[in-house]
Every structure is written in structure tokens, then in C-alpha cells.
């Protein structure tokens, strides 16, 4: 096998692997990517019921209701809009009223959301960045301790 043939073999192998990887990435991108919206954006952008998405905002104080079998329902608000979230399961350690959360699930209609997970991702100041940005966008940002609010 000559040097040239060898090089061609290698390039062909590299292109094959890269092609497969690219295909996988594109397929995975199509099916496994979830958009994030705040309650106000759901109304503004006219998100269709049945869409899988992430919802973020503050848990409205006094809105948490607990039912049987770990059913929890609470209102997520970004100041300009509100959505009621229903969730069955255990809430993360950092879940509390007035705090920011991100829930992933399916939008049932403009005002209600069925979550299959409630996330506690946060930085040291306990505010999910997506939520902080959404609140700033709606003009309801007050937490001055937040590092990146400057």
C-alpha cells in the first residue's frame, strides 16, 4: 500500500466517523432539545399547548398546595405572567416560596403546566440564571446581591 493510498484510507475513515457523529448530533438536536420560556413569554410567543419546554420563574408566595401522593401544585410567576404548575414527586432541597425554579414538562394551556421534573440548578445565590434573565426582561429584578446583575 502506497503512502497516498494509506492517506486516502485514513481520510475516508475519518470522514466516515465524522459523518456518523454529525448525523447523530443532528438527530439528537432535533429530538432532544428543550426551549426555556418564562410565563410572560408563553403568552407573547404564543407557545402551543402540548409543547415540551422548560418553565422558569419565581414560586409565588402562598401558592403552594400539596395534595395526596406527593402531588404538588404551585404558581410560577415572572411578574408579567403566571402559570400554575402541577408536579408529582419530591421537590428539590432548594424549593421554597419566593425562590426561583426551573420546571421541565409539557404545557397544557397558557395558564397551566404539567412538570415531570423540578430543577434546583442554581449558583451560590440560589437563583437560576435563566430565571434571573427572564425577570430582568420583565423589569422585576430587585435582587442586588446577584453578582451578574450589574
Amino acid at each position: 500500500m502506497t503512502r497516498k493510498q494509506r492517506r486516502l484510507t485514513m481520510i475516508a475513515a475519518a470522514l466516515t466517523v465524522l459523518g456518523i457523529a454529525l448525523g447523530l448530533v443532528l438527530v439528537a438536536m432535533r429530538d432532544n432539545i428543550v426551549f426555556f420560556y418564562s410565563p410572560a413569554e408563553i403568552a407573547q410567543k404564543d407557545i402551543k399547548p402540548g409543547t415540551r419546554m422548560r418553565l422558569g420563574g419565581l414560586v409565588k408566595t402562598g401558592s403552594v398546595e400539596r395534595g395526596a401522593d406527593r402531588l404538588v401544585s404551585f404558581v410560577v410567576s415572572d411578574g408579567a405572567g403566571e402559570v400554575r404548575v402541577r408536579y408529582t414527586g419530591l421537590l428539590p432541597d432548594l424549593f421554597r416560596e419566593g425562590q426561583g425554579i426551573v420546571a421541565e414538562g409539557v404545557l397544557e394551556d397558557v395558564r397551566s403546566f404539567r412538570a415531570d421534573s423540578v430543577l434546583a440548578k442554581h449558583d451560590e445565590t440560589y437563583m437560576p440564571r435563566e430565571v434571573a434573565d427572564a425577570l430582568k426582561k420583565q423589569g422585576h429584578w430587585q435582587n442586588e446581591k446577584q453578582g451578574d446583575s450589574k
Binding site: 500500500m1 503512502r3 494509506r6 484510507t9 485514513m10 475513515a13 475519518a14 466517523v17 465524522l18 456518523i20 457523529a21 447523530l24 448530533v25 438527530v27 439528537a28 438536536m29 429530538d31 432532544n32 432539545i33 428543550v34 426551549f35 426555556f36 420560556y37 422548560r54 400539596r66 406527593r70 414527586g89 419530591l90 421537590l91 428539590p92 432541597d93 432548594l94 421541565e104 440548578k121 442554581h122 449558583d123 451560590e124 445565590t125 440560589y126 437560576p128 440564571r129 435563566e130 434573565d133 453578582g147 451578574d148 450589574k150
Partner: protein, 661 residues
């Protein structure tokens, strides 16, 4: 006073960097040996100064000096001693100090061994290392001074984030940094080689041990971090494809590829361009990781509270070093001559295949990590790329890699016999099928777990086929076999052990499919079935710790009526930060673990309990320790061998390619 000394030592270290950035480099370009001789002692002094500075900050933590802002923000006088120490690197400023300490440590280690390499290469590499060190020292001095004082010291500190008060934090970052930052020395060598245009098998022989050290610590650091997440975060998972985890995985993948391509370069003088490029990329990915964690572009439990200036500064460092090294690379690449020829089916071919899959999988992780950031910057849309994405892209690339590992180990250099290799693997395949059948009977669904466990057994057994063949080459007499076994090069054992370790980890990952998860409300006296066990909640206790209040559940695990273990999962409430953490109860039974957390106490007094039974889960981390040991064996061998490469100051040093391992 001591605190100011620490700050001053950092400034001095930076001044030494300025000297080191120019003098040895100039010396190596003009051939002035006096100037080159500056490099080694200055590197040692830099290390001493940075170590002094680190010691000063540690001292401030130990005596709870609350006139130092960093100590106020991250410590508390009541905190246990170990967390006072680990608190030093549990925050942005202190962890940067650990980062530069590691940078200067590697510089010093190279300086100590500089006599074994050509003077100009060592001097230039140390000079480049000082460029990196200087950039990060400047970053600390300008944006993240850990020694800043406050005018009116408070009586008490704000305490370390409770999530970080854990033995895992005490060891995970230093190990990880040894890995991350260890890649800087490979980078410095690559840049030095490009500057001098001396890129040959000899270069690979000097650089491979450093890559190996970095790789070993990166392996163990990532693995300890994953174990820490597994038992402290209370989510029962050990890998979340979190961007910060990805930031450590990418350099690991690149370093793994680099180890293998440097082997080809060392033995066969081939793949030179590729190896140099990988050395640059591996450290670039480390820098990218530093940027992602510290710039505030992402949210993660790992990220530090951020300041946009720091992000811009690190981005500038990133652009300077990646851009600079790649320009140098582009400038030199024409002059590189390709070396040894090999057939596609050969040891080299197998290693190329390994590199192809490792770098491609690294690229998919990069895409999955950066795409959301890029999309947000471009369109403002926020998306999340979660585990499904990575499972779909990363896993299919790793399956062929694992299939190829044992085959590659059996191929000869230059031209291999793939049919012969496959034949020699009959035993490994047989073992895999037997193990798969046993597991299919014993554990059943899911099919994927059975298949992956079988693949793991094939990798583990296959890893030792070559070694075994050599051990029995002189016959089956135990004495003879023992003699041959200890006569084999340590690196041969190292390679077999490290690959088997990868198989062991794969087995642990495969077995996650057999796990059981239950979420139930329990009152004292209640029982719950968990896989083969019955778990009883005995009682619930409230107790007070040094800086928290704790609710602990006492639970007993029984198997067929016999007590096999007791567990006390708990929730801790830290008043200083009004924050709750969950301490999982963990009980290792054989190779599996029972993992119990109590996320909530209901109003009726019952506890919500989340229970997992994870068979073989410990293998995930045991495998990484085996990989680490394998690396150690290989390193021990190398140290003996570096001796005969000692031929400084000869432009065309070329030893005959060593015989195949």
C-alpha cells in the same frame, strides 16, 4: 502581616514570570547557555513564592482571620478544621490560587528534571510555562485578590456553602487541578518544540510521562467529583452532563487521545503534526473549562458567583494562548516531515482509530456544551441540551472504541494481522458471552445492560490476552510464569491494567440499568421492599451539629430476615446560610450500594423517602482507580527508561525505534 506577605509573594512571583518569559526564551533562540540556565532556578523560586502565598491564605483560614474578605465570605470560626483548609479552594479566589500553585508546581518539577533534556527545549518550555503562569497571576492580582482586607472585621464569617463542606471537596479539586493544569506542561513542550522546530520521537518520549501524570490525576479527579455529586447532591446520579462536568471530560478525552498518539510518535516517529495539535487542544480545553466555570456564562452547582470582568479576562487569556499556539503551529506545520509508514491494519492504525473516536466524541461533547451558549448569544432563545443528547451522540461512538481496544492491543506495529488478533480474542469473547448469559438469567432486563456488561467483560479479559500470551510463552510451570510476568516491562502491565480499568468502569455503568428506585412516605416502623432487600424506618432523630441542625432517620436493611446494614440518611439545616442539604445514607453491599435520602418531612409526621438499590455501582469508581494504577505502572517504567534518552545538545538525536511492547 502574614496575609500581606502572601500577597507580596504573589507579586514577586509575577515579577519572576516577567523575567522568565523573556530571558530563557531569548537565550534558547540565540544559543546563549547562561541565559538558558536562568530557567530552572527561577521556576523553583516561582514555585516557592506561590507556595508561600498559598500557605499564607491557608493560615488566614486556620486562625479565622476575619479581616480578610475571602475568609469572611467562606469560613466560620466553628467550622471543622478540615473544612477550614478545604475552604481555601472552595471559592473563586482561593481556587485560582490553587490553580497557579499547580502551574508553578509543574514548572518546578520540569526544572528539576531539566538536565535530562536538551537545554534549549527545557529552557523554552519553562519560559512558555511562565507565560501561562504569569497570565493567571496577573488575573489573580487584578481581578481576584484573595488577600483583600476589610476595614471593619466582623466577629464571624459567613461560612462555606454547606454543599461544599464535605471530604469530597477536600480532595476533588486538588486532584482535578493536577490533571487540568498538568496539561499545561504538555502545552509548553509543544510550543517549545514548535519554536525550535524539533519535533521527533525523542520529544514524545520526554512529554509522554507528563501527559500520563496529568491524565492519571484528571481520571481520578473526575471520578472523585462524580462520587462527590453522587453522595452529596442527593440526586442518586453520578453524571449529569452538566456543562461543568463536560468541561472536565473534554480535556480528559483529548488527553487520552494524546497519550495514545504520543505513543505512536515515540515508537514510530509518525503522527507528529497530529500529536502536537492534540497537545495544544488538550490544554486549550482546560482553559475553556476554566472560562466556562468562572465567567458566569453558565449555571451550575460548580460555578462560582461571577463578575463579568473576570470572564473577559479569562477569555483574553484563552484567545491569546490558543490563538498564539495555533499560529505557531500553522507557521511550522509545513516543515514537519512525516515519519514511519504503516498499514491501516496495524497497532498504529488501531491507535489512529482510537484517536479518531476519542476526538470525535470530544467534539460532540463540545457541540452539546457550547451550542446552547451560541444559540442564546445569537438569537436570545434559551435551550437545554440534556442527557438524551449526549446518550445519543456519545455512547454510539464509545461502543466501537471499546470493541476495538482488545483488538488494537494484539496488533503488531507497522502491519498487523486482524484475523489472528480476533482468533486470540476467542477466549475473551467466550467469557463475555458466558457473563452476559449469567447476568441475563440473574438480572434480566434491560437488554442494553446485559449487552454492555458483556462488552465490559470482553474488554477486561481482552486487556490481559497479550500479557498472558507472554507470561505463558515459556511454558506453564508456575515458577517460569512468575519469572516471565515480573520480567515484562511495567508499561506492558500498565497498559493492560488501565484498559481493564476502563472495562470495569463500563461494567458499573452498564449495571445502572438494573437499579431499583422507590419513593415512598414512611413512618417509624414501616417497611419497604427494595430489590433483594427490605428496608425498615426505625425512628427519626433530631440532633445538633457544630454549625447545623440535623434530622436523621435510622433505617435498617434486611435480606431474608438477616440484618445486612444500618443507615442514617439525614437533612442538615445550616442557620448561617438558611440552607438545607441532604446527606444520603449509603451502604455498600458487595459491589452495589443502597442509597437513601429523606428529601422531605410531611405535615403528618411521615418522611418522604427516596431509596435506590444500585447493583455494581461502585465499579464505576473502582474502575477509575484501576486506570489510575495502570497509569502509575506505566510511569514507573518510564522513569527507568528516560535514562537512555539522555543526550543533550545534539540537534538530530535519533534512537532506533524501540521494539514493540
Amino acid at each position: 502581616m502574614i496575609v500581606e506577605t502572601g500577597h507580596y509573594a504573589l507579586v514577586l512571583a509575577f515579577a519572576l514570570c516577567l523575567v522568565q518569559m523573556v530571558v530563557p526564551l531569548w537565550g534558547s533562540l540565540t544559543g546563549d547557555r547562561t541565559l538558558m540556565a536562568v530557567a530552572a532556578p527561577v521556576s523553583l523560586m516561582q514555585f516557592a513564592l506561590v507556595a508561600l502565598s498559598f500557605a499564607a491564605l491557608t493560615y488566614a483560614y486556620l486562625v479565622s482571620d476575619f479581616s480578610v474578605l475571602n475568609v469572611i465570605e467562606n469560613s466560620h470560626s466553628q467550622k471543622p478544621l478540615i473544612y477550614k483548609i478545604s475552604g481555601v479552594w472552595g471559592n473563586h479566589e482561593g481556587s485560582m490560587l490553587l490553580w497557579v500553585l499547580t502551574l508553578s508546581l509543574f514548572g518546578a518539577l520540569v526544572a528539576l528534571r531539566a538536565k535530562r533534556m536538551p537545554e534549549d527545549l527545557a529552557a523554552t518550555a519553562l519560559s512558555i510555562q511562565s507565560w501561562v503562569l504569569g497570565a493567571f497571576l496577573l488575573f489573580i492580582l487584578l481581578t481576584s485578590n484573595p488577600f483583600a482586607r476589610v476595614g471593619a472585621p466582623p466577629m464571624e464569617g459567613r461560612d462555606l456553602n454547606p454543599l461544599l463542606q464535605d471530604p469530597g471537596l477536600a480532595i476533588h479539586p486538588p486532584l482535578l487541578y493536577l490533571g487540568y493544569v498538568g496539561l499545561s506542561i504538555t502545552f509548553s513542550f509543544a510550543a517549545a518544540a514548535l519554536i525550535h522546530g524539533r519535533i521527533d520521537a525523542q520529544w514524545a518520549r520526554w512529554v509522554r510521562p507528563w501527559t500520563l501524570i496529568a491524565w492519571m490525576f484528571l481520571t481520578i479527579g473526575i471520578s472523585m467529583g462524580s462520587y462527590w455529586a453522587y453522595y452529596t447532591l442527593g440526586w442518586g446520579g453520578f453524571w449529569f452532563w452538566d456543562p461543568v462536568e463536560n468541561a472536565s471530560l473534554m480535556p480528559w478525552l483529548a488527553a487520552t487521545a494524546l497519550l495514545h498518539s504520543a505513543l505512536v510518535m515515540e515508537k514510530r516517529d509518525a503522527l507528529k503534526i497530529w500529536t502536537i495539535l492534540l497537545a495544544i487542544l488538550a490544554f486549550s480545553l482546560s482553559l475553556l473549562g476554566a472560562f466556562l466555570v468562572r465567567s458566569g456564562v453558565l449555571t451550575s452547582v460548580h460555578s462560582f458567583a461571577n463578575d463579568p470582568d473576570r470572564g473577559v479576562f479569562i477569555l483574553a487569556i484563552l484567545v491569546f494562548f490558543i490563538g498564539g499556539s495555533l499560529s505557531l503551529f500553522a507557521f511550522r506545520v509545513q516543515s514537519l516531515k512525516q515519519g514511519g509508514i504503516f498499514a491501516p491494519i496495524s497497532r498504529e492504525g488501531a491507535l489512529v482509530f482510537n484517536n479518531l473516536l476519542l476526538t470525535t466524541s470530544c467534539a460532540t461533547v463540545l457541540v452539546g456544551t457550547l451550542y446552547p451558549l451560541a444559540l442564546e448569544a445569537a438569537t436570545g432563545a434559551k435551550i437545554s441540551v440534556g442527557p438524551p443528547f449526549f446518550n445519543l451522540t456519545f455512547v454510539p461512538l464509545f461502543v466501537p472504541l471499546f470493541l476495538a481496544i482488545p483488538i488494537g492491543q494484539l496488533l503488531a506495529w507497522k502491519r498487523g494481522d486482524i484475523l489472528g488478533a480476533v482468533q486470540r480474542l476467542t477466549f475473551a469473547v467466550g467469557m463475555a458471552v458466558v457473563a452476559g448469559l449469567i447476568l441475563a438469567f440473574a438480572r434480566g432486563e434491560p437488554v442494553l445492560s446485559v449487552l454492555f456488561a458483556g462488552l465490559a467483560v470482553y474488554v477486561i479479559v481482552g486487556a490481559f490476552i497479550e500479557t498472558w500470551g507472554r507470561v505463558i510463552a515459556g511454558g506453564y510451570s508456575p515458577v517460569l510464569m512468575w519469572r516471565r510476568a515480573i520480567g515484562l516491562p511495567l508499561s506492558q502491565w500498565g497498559s493492560a491494567i488501565a484498559h481493564a480499568g476502563a472495562g470495569v468502569t463500563l461494567f458499573g455503568l452498564a449495571a445502572t440499568g438494573w437499579g431499583v428506585e422507590r419513593i415512598v412516605g414512611m413512618k417509624p416502623g414501616d417497611n419497604v421492599n427494595l430489590g433483594p432487600y427490605i428496608v425498615t424506618l426505625e425512628d427519626v432523630e433530631r440532633r445538633k451539629g457544630p454549625n447545623y441542625v440535623e434530622t436523621a432517620a435510622h433505617m435498617t436493611i434486611r435480606e431474608g430476615g438477616v440484618v445486612v446494614g444500618k443507615l442514617d440518611p439525614s437533612r442538615k439545616f445550616y442557620a448561617h446560610r438558611s440552607m438545607t442539604t441532604t446527606d444520603a445514607g449509603l451502604r455498600t453491599i458487595e459491589l452495589g450500594q443502597v442509597h437513601i435520602v429523606i428529601p422531605e418531612q410531611n405535615s403528618d409526621g411521615s418522611l418522604d423517602v427516596r431509596l435506590y438499590w444500585k447493583p455494581y455501582v461502585t465499579l464505576i469508581w473502582i474502575g477509575s482507580i484501576i486506570m489510575f494504577l495502570g497509569g502509575g505502572f506505566s510511569l514507573a517504567d518510564r522513569r527507568l527508561r528516560v535514562g537512555y534518552a539522555r543526550r543533550p545538545r545534539e540537534p538530530k538525536v535519533q534512537t532506533a525505534p524501540a521494539p514493540a511492547e
